[in-house]
Point group: D2
Chain length 293, copies 4
């Protein structure tokens, strides 16, 4: 069910800080023109952690309405197992096709493999929709136990993982341990091409929010066996991808979305707007990435 | 306003997972017999991250009712500035004397000094009660910018910090940079005595939930100048303190609270119960700590 | 000049701890039968840090004698620039074709890009042979400044890098910033295949010491465009590669070399022999890797 | 045998990079006027890692000649057990009273407690002089196994440790686990006063090279029970201590030694000279530290 490039949709806010659902839908309308594999709503780049439940459900509903049959993946992971189950059920009711469940991570030292396994199993047991794991150590501070995906892949409703560490040794180990039906999505754009070489089937990548065309082009070049083009596109999008994640984070991504003619805006506090110097740099990197596609 | 030992109250749940407010109040009744400086409700050891808002306010209210004039510190930090402000106001209305505001930390790389400064200032501006910073890198993965406390200490409603890294070089640097009126509380029991030597005025310490007597005794021995006793008590409580934090975490702390004759119980999932082997070890360490007081 | 698979030769010792040059040469004789791109003598897996200078030069000389025209790369990096220059000159005189220069790393915080740049330039200036950078953060604790290779690639005698972090985002960034003539070797076997996809031209890999056949087969499958075989071999060697590095380190690698019918032996103290349980596991992983080739 | 403040002597070089023994002895002559507990020669701040054996022995000999009965501690730790033993014997012959043995650390993952234990025991067995452990994770990247000191304290020739992590939780755990005869020296100046409160008996501190007077004054104030003065001096030396370690490293320390009227000079490459801006800052911090004594 999971394949291709999925942008982790940004969440636009109005000047008064309230959710701007119209801007969000306008972005989806624009993405419809690109060869994408679906959408992730309520990911880290969607500022899920600063949205309340009603905002979350409104965003899922809007994505569903505008997805035109594409896959709608919704982030539903919270620190509590029970709260995650409740939100997953509501997400399903609001139209999500599958739930992307972040590893709980506040009590890092206690989040051993068995504990995480029970958490994901409990969520999957109660979920009306398929579940994917979401590991993003740069935010959670919790590395993925390499044996966890295989241990969970036997569950009929746990169907894949978004692995965002960028550690391809780990991804290779995961791919070597799970059945072919278990989908591994790459969550780190600078390693998208080598991840596809290893067997990843999708990319859920911030850079696809501001540069969907070259990102999708990389994926499709790979799929049709044109590795030279894929590698060229990889080198073209990596600087932009790094700028909208490691360097400038969500504020930079939202600015790049603006610069791409879509609706980004500024994040919710305490996340600040992107610094003044970012605009020219992002514009240049965007142009370079687009020029390569 | 902040001095002495404050237990970061654990949150008991019934077998069905719902909040057990009666058990929580029973603990407060027991703590009344000890020479404590107040209470922290909704800290990391209180599982604040898996409680909903109504549970949080009920816990603050119960603490207020049972505090008998002692300081009631309530954890109100959330990832969003606006949500933190809202919860801080409700906490004040529910009876909190001061708010302990955790550093937002999900977007770690963006949480630079200036960003954190604006967050805490915005919360303090809007808060009806004094605000203290709460830095606990073992959970947040975010080290405290050493210059942040001094930068905030000029604000009339930012009155102190709970520094839980255990890094006394950092604490010394903070103490050397803030006015004497800015309260520094030690949040790492194994360094309580040397932190008091450096100038910390309080300890907010998990071990005080299960062993309030020797922990308070250490503090009072230090205050009256009896450093030999303080050092002896430090050595007596360190193994227990380590067991109920680094080794067994909240599950171990709640078990130790049970073993001390109070009401701990098991944490909310995904936090598991303490492992079987922990019981005998915790009982022994508790007995050793109590014997020293 | 650098291409293909190079084993980082292990250094056999006699029971009394002295260098066993005959065993070392016997290994080289056995490697002659495999399609390798050359040899690295005095790498981390060769225990360079516990060899004295006369042992080092004897090992380089023996490698030269037995290399039969293959590339002889010699590790010459020391903490001091002057000492590195002196050893590099002696290595060249002893027969090394090129020097692999480890990043100095004891004073980590001071090893900024400019400082490392001057170090490598000074070594290259004085070296009679080409120089390659060697970055291996698992041992040095020093991440490679991503801009360093490009900054050095203009120097006519700095011709490449062995990048052993396994971070393909970093490797991609390096490959995107250096001229095509600058050779990037992968030093982390679990990511060999994706590194080749990205543009790496060689692999200097511990696993090639004990399993040269499947490791070389992976490389040659990739070169002839048979990516399916390459990916299959990648999955076959990864568990062995992990065992002889991350899990059991040099002691495990030397045991695996023994089990492969070559001469490994035990490391110099304080490195211990591999633990008893390692033997059966390594034998099984070796058999599985060999069966795939 | 170990008590008080010991400067970890810097190693002056002439302009041509050769050892300047006369400058080194001039420093010792100046230190004679201060109430110090002895000297460490060949520590991290003495650039031991870039000195050859003859330079090392010359420095030990010079320290012995100028020590006037004070304790001469010599750093003799190398990566190899056998090489450490050999250097320790030569150090003893050259006049060292005791050997400070750095944890071997290149093969970090293999340096488990048992391996380190065997290393230190082997060195102590063969050593003609008492041995102290030296743990400095900022350089080695290897944290001290907390149980190691107690495991080694039974050996009659292993008499103490220099613990330089600044982690007083760890130091407290060590102090609580070793006999009173086992000397614990603090190697992190910003925590000297609280370390003394915990039971440390000495400080081996870079800041004592450039500011021996206030550093020794802190120690002696503590010894005579004047904690107010000790705490005041702690706050006075911490900024300087941080500047000559964390901020500017050995280059900054050597410049501060120059500014104090002693002989520092520049480090051996690749360590660079201190940056231009450091001079004024160090001069100011030196003046402030001296003014407090």
């Amino acid at each position: 069910m999971l394949s291709g490039i999925l942008p982790p949709l940004v969440t636009p806010f109005r000047e008064d800080g309230t959710l701007d659902l119209a801007a969000f839908e306008a972005n989806l309308e624009a993405y419809a023109a690109h060869e994408l594999g679906g959408y992730l709503v309520l990911g880290s780049n969607g500022e899920a952690g600063v949205l309340d439940e009603s905002e979350k459900l409104a965003l899922i509903g809007a994505t569903r309405r505008r997805a035109a049959g594409r896959l709608v993946l919704a982030g539903t992971g919270l620190e509590s197992t029970a709260a995650t189950i409740e939100l997953t059920r509501k997400a399903a009711a609001a139209g999500a096709d599958a739930a992307l469940v972040l590893t709980p991570h506040y009590y890092k030292a206690q989040m051993r493999t068995e504990v995480l396994k029970r958490h994901f199993e409990a969520v999957a047991e109660a979920s009306p929709i398929p579940v994917l794991l979401y590991s993003v150590p740069v935010f959670t501070g919790l590395p993925l136990p390499p044996e966890l995906p295989a241990a969970l892949s036997a569950h009929p409703r746990i169907v894949g993982i978004k692995e965002s560490s960028g550690d391809l040794g780990l991804m290779g180990r995961v791919l070597g341990s799970v059945p072919a039906s278990f989908a591994v999505a790459c969550g780190s754009a600078p390693v998208l091409f080598p991840a596809l070489c290893l067997g990843a089937v999708a990319g859920v990548l911030a850079v696809a929010c501001c540069a969907p065309r070259p990102t999708a082009a990389l994926y499709h070049a790979f799929r049709r066996g044109d590795r030279e083009t894929a590698l060229r596109l990889q080198r073209a999008i990596t600087p932009l991808a790094t700028a909208v994640t490691a360097t400038y984070g969500v504020p930079g991504l939202k600015l790049a979305v603006d610069l791409a003619g879509l609706r980004g805006g500024v994040p919710r506090a305490p996340l600040p707007p992107a610094p003044p110097g970012a605009r020219a740099e992002l514009a240049r990197l965007l142009a370079e990435a687009e020029a390569a596609a």
